[in-house]
C-alpha cells in the first residue's frame, strides 16, 4: 500500500483544527418544532400542524458584517387547517414576532433561553430542549391567510389573530376576523408550539400548485409593492427545495 505523504497529514490536521476552532467560536444548532393551530367550527374542533427545522447560528463579524447571529427556518411549511366546506386556513412563517423572520424567531420567543440566543450558552439551551411545549399568546400568533380560490394567489385574504376585532395587516388594509372570513361559529382557539424530532412537513404544493413556480411575490411582481399581495412570497409558505 502506498504511504500517505506527511504533508497530506499535516494539511488534514490543519483543516480539522480550523474546523474545530470555527465550530467553537461560532456555534450553531438545528432544532425542530411542531406548530399546531386549532379552530372551533360548527362541525367541531379542527386542527392542523407543521414541523419546521430552525437553524440558530452565531455569525462572525468581519469586514463590517453587522449580523451577530441568525435564526431561521431551513426546511418547513405554513400550517394548513382544512375547515371543510368553509375553506382552508394557512398559518404563515411570517407574523408579529420577527415579521418576515417569524418562523425562526417564534422558537426563541416561545422558549426564551435567558441568554443571548446566539451565545454558546443560548445555543446550548436550544440543543438541550426536548419535548418542551407552550401555548402562544395572540400577539405571538403567525399571520393567517386564506385563498378564496386555492388556484388563484390573487384571492388571498388576511385573517385577524383576534376573534373579536379586525387588525391591520401591516401592509395597509385590514385582516378580518375568522367569523367574517369563514362564516358563523368559526373561531381561533389556540396555537401551540412544541419541540419534536418528527419529520419536517412537506407537500404544500399539492394544495397550492402554483407556489413552486412563483417568481418574485405571489402577485407575480418582481418588486415588493404596496398591499399584502405584493409582499407575500413563497418563503412565507415553504422553506427548502421543492
Amino acid at each position: 500500500m502506498k504511504k500517505i505523504p506527511k504533508s497530506v497529514w499535516i494539511l488534514l490536521g490543519l483543516v480539522a483544527t480550523i474546523y474545530a476552532a470555527w465550530s467553537i467560536a461560532y456555534p450553531s444548532t438545528a432544532v425542530r418544532y411542531r406548530m399546531t393551530v386549532t379552530l372551533e367550527t360548527p362541525e367541531g374542533i379542527k386542527t392542523g400542524s407543521a414541523v419546521r427545522e430552525v437553524a440558530i447560528e452565531k455569525s462572525p463579524q468581519f469586514l463590517g458584517s453587522t449580523s451577530v447571529g441568525a435564526v431561521g427556518v431551513t426546511r418547513g411549511e405554513a400550517v394548513i387547517v382544512d375547515l371543510g366546506k368553509h375553506g382552508v386556513l394557512f398559518a404563515l412563517m411570517r407574523g408579529g414576532v420577527g415579521g418576515i423572520d417569524y418562523g425562526g424567531y417564534i422558537l426563541t420567543t416561545a422558549f426564551p433561553s435567558g441568554n443571548d440566543p446566539f451565545s454558546r450558552e443560548g445555543i446550548g439551551y436550544y440543543r438541550s430542549l426536548k419535548n418542551a411545549k407552550t401555548t402562544l399568546t395572540p400577539q405571538q400568533y403567525p399571520m393567517f391567510v386564506r385563498f378564496r380560490d386555492l388556484n388563484d394567489p390573487k384571492t388571498v385574504e388576511a385573517i385577524s389573530q383576534y376573534n373579536d376585532r379586525d387588525m391591520p395587516t401591516g401592509y395597509g388594509g385590514m385582516a378580518k376576523t375568522a367569523v367574517e372570513v369563514f362564516g358563523a361559529g368559526i373561531k381561533l382557539k389556540e396555537v401551540t408550539i412544541e419541540i419534536t424530532r418528527d419529520s419536517v412537513t412537506t407537500g404544500i404544493e399539492k394544495l397550492l400548485p402554483w407556489l413552486p413556480q412563483t417568481k418574485g411575490y405571489i402577485s407575480g411582481q418582481f418588486l415588493g409593492g404596496a398591499g399584502l399581495l405584493n409582499q407575500l412570497d413563497k418563503g412565507d409558505f415553504y422553506k427548502g427545495s421543492k
Partner: protein
Amino acid sequence: MDDTLFKAILAMDSYNRGYNYGIDLNIRNANGDIIQQSDAPDITHIGNATVYKNLGNADAQNIGFYGIAYTLSSGNVVISYRGTDSLFGTSTIGSDWYNGYGVALGHPDGPEGAMAFSFYNAVDLAAADNVSISTTGHSLGGGLVNGERNNSLSGSA
C-alpha cells in the same frame, strides 16, 4: 437636510428593514401587535421619504440581497442597497462574500450585483418618466452602487 447626508441615512436605514433587520422598526400598538411592517410600501416614512418598493423575498434572502426604494417629497426616488450583514452567510441567508464581493474585483455581474441591477431597472420601469432615480449604499451596498455607476447610473457610496 443636506442631500448627501440624507442619502447616507437611507444607506444605513436599509439594514433595519425587511429580513434579518438590525433594529426592529416594525410599528406596534400598545398590545405589542405589529400594525405596520418596517418596510411596508406607501405607508412607511423616514424624514421626508416614503418607502416606495422593496426586494427582500426568499430569492433575495438566498443570495443575501436586500434593496429598498424611497420616494422623496420632490417625487424623485432613492434606491438603497444593504451592505454586508452576513459575510459568510447562514443556513438561511446567502453569503455576501460569495454572492456580492465580486463587485470589488471588477465583476459586478455576480448574484447580488445582478439583482441590484434588476431592482434598479424594475424601479425605473415602475416610476414615472420625469422622475430622477439615484442610488446609495454602505459597505457592500456602496460597492453595488459603484457597480451601477460603471453602467452610467447615478449613485452615492
